[in-house]
């Protein structure tokens, strides 16, 4: 064993360890997660994850079919559809009312943009170390996805942002992540704030909206949408509804706890806005 430490093999291991440390420092300094060798690994592992996800979906749906009550499920789906339509109408109505007020002058509030392009994507992986609901999708730069693209659910609710895009897959940071931040507004009262994840609420599937004015008239149940300020996220994307309002410790503002309109942990399919 002592000879091993003087051998060429040990030196090779040291070189590899130093190389990994150097690449890690480079990736970290450039704000990236991956480097070229890891993108090669992502191409290799993505087919396995895709198959595993399909098997998981199939097994899950089979079990669901035999244990759920069909009538109750049908009624539930109909009610969800109706609720979604009503909430969308509420957002449109609030937008029309708000345009008669001084908020019309704000550049951030825009009309709905019909020029958005979408990429359909399936969830193929959720790692055990990712505690904020992050996941891997089966589309990447080959399908036009880029880092920073917005991810929305099938119903149009904000899910997160593409954190890293490889050739055939991409990683998504969800609204539950503490590093997530998006300019948002309460649809009814037009109170601006910053939508961000919070580790205190992430385990319950909730996020927060901070920097809301202290004298806000917002209440539980109000819808939250994005404003498009900063150009990172498209405007008027539904986020979710407020569940409670908590005065911030300094008393200068209010923090709203927001329940996203979609259950992040059980998502299996999303859309990525590749252009808007």
């Amino acid at each position: 064993m002592r000879d091993f430490f003087e051998s060429r093999r040990f030196k090779i291991l040291i070189v590899i360890a130093v190389f990994l440390a150097g690449v890690m420092a480079y990736a970290g300094a450039n704000g990236r997660l991956t480097a070229a060798p890891q993108e090669v690994l992502s191409v290799l592992v993505e087919p396995f994850q895709w198959v595993a996800a399909k098997v998981s979906d199939g097994a899950g749906s089979l079990w669901h079919k035999y244990t759920s009550v069909d009538d109750v499920m049908a009624e539930n789906e109909a009610l969800k559809e109706e609720n979604k339509t009503l909430k969308e109408q509420l957002v449109d109505y609030d937008k029309v009312v708000a345009e008669n007020d001084a908020y019309k002058s704000l550049e951030a509030i825009q009309e709905a943009n019909p020029n958005r392009t979408y990429a359909s994507a399936f969830v193929i992986g959720r790692d055990t170390l990712d505690e904020f609901g992050g996941f891997t999708l089966d589309v990447g730069t080959a399908q036009g996805v880029a880092r920073g693209d917005t991810v929305v659910s099938n119903d149009g609710y904000l899910v997160g942002i593409v954190q890293e895009a490889n050739l055939t897959s991409c990683k998504v940071m969800t609204v539950l992540h503490p590093s997530f931040a998006a300019a948002s507004v309460v649809s009814r009262t037009r109170d601006n704030g910053i939508l961000c994840g919070d580790s205190a609420y992430a385990s319950q599937g909730l996020c927060t909206m901070t920097n809301i004015a202290r004298d806000t008239m917002a209440t539980a149940g109000d819808m939250v949408i994005t404003t498009g300020l900063g150009g990172v996220y498209p405007p008027d994307i539904m986020v979710g509804s407020i569940t409670e309002l908590i005065p911030e410790s300094s008393g200068k503002s209010v923090v709203a706890v927001v329940e996203p309109g979609v259950d992040i942990e059980t998502l299996t399919h999303v859309f990525i806005i590749t252009d808007y």
Partner: protein, 174 residues
């Protein structure tokens, strides 16, 4: 000549199977809903890397561990190289310990998985949760990370069995 060619082929197939096992472990580890217990699910990549290091020695085990770690970096969204360096080091250490001090038994493998899992995930927790000041980090460590380590270590001997079978079937007869 014939036996040398046969040996080389066996060696190549053996390592291909190890790598395939690693890819399967990565896929199972990230499979949505698979073996999810509450808010945690077990990991398998570390067990595969340690099992190969157990079987193949410190040099090749460490190299394999580095590749496994890089794969885990990708699936977990960690900075490239973090887990790679960690598992490289752990695989080297485990292999040396088994060669010098410990019996290569399943019980020891379970205990080594426990210790290595605790070291690796605690370091990851330190850099990615504690140092970033996330709220309820301590609670998450107790409720998610520690049970994850225990459950993953309990499943690890099965992976060692699989690796040993591969090695036994594809090793040259002595």
């Amino acid at each position: 000549m014939e036996s040398q060619r046969k040996r080389r082929r066996q060696l190549m197939i053996r390592w291909m199977l190890y790598f395939l096992l690693l890819l399967c472990a990565a896929a199972l580890q990230t499979m949505p809903g698979f073996l999810t217990i509450g808010s945690f699910k077990p990991y398998f990549i570390l067990a595969v890397c340690l099992a190969v290091a157990f079987q193949e020695g410190e040099f090749y085990g460490a190299l394999f561990g580095a590749v496994g770690g890089l794969l885990w970096d990708y699936t977990a969204g960690r900075t490239f190289g973090m887990l790679g360096i960690g598992i490289l080091f752990l695989c080297f250490l485990v292999s040396v310990l088994v060669q010098l001090y410990l019996k290569p038994s399943s019980v020891n493998f379970f205990l080594l998985n426990l210790a290595c899992g605790w070291l690796l995930l605690s370091t990851d927790f330190l850099f990615n949760d504690l140092m970033r000041g996330y709220a309820h980090a301590a609670r998450r460590y107790a409720v998610v990370i520690l049970p994850e380590i225990v459950v993953s270590s309990l499943l690890a001997p099965l992976i060692l069995l699989l690796v040993r079978r591969i090695a036994a079937r594809l090793s040259p007869e002595e």
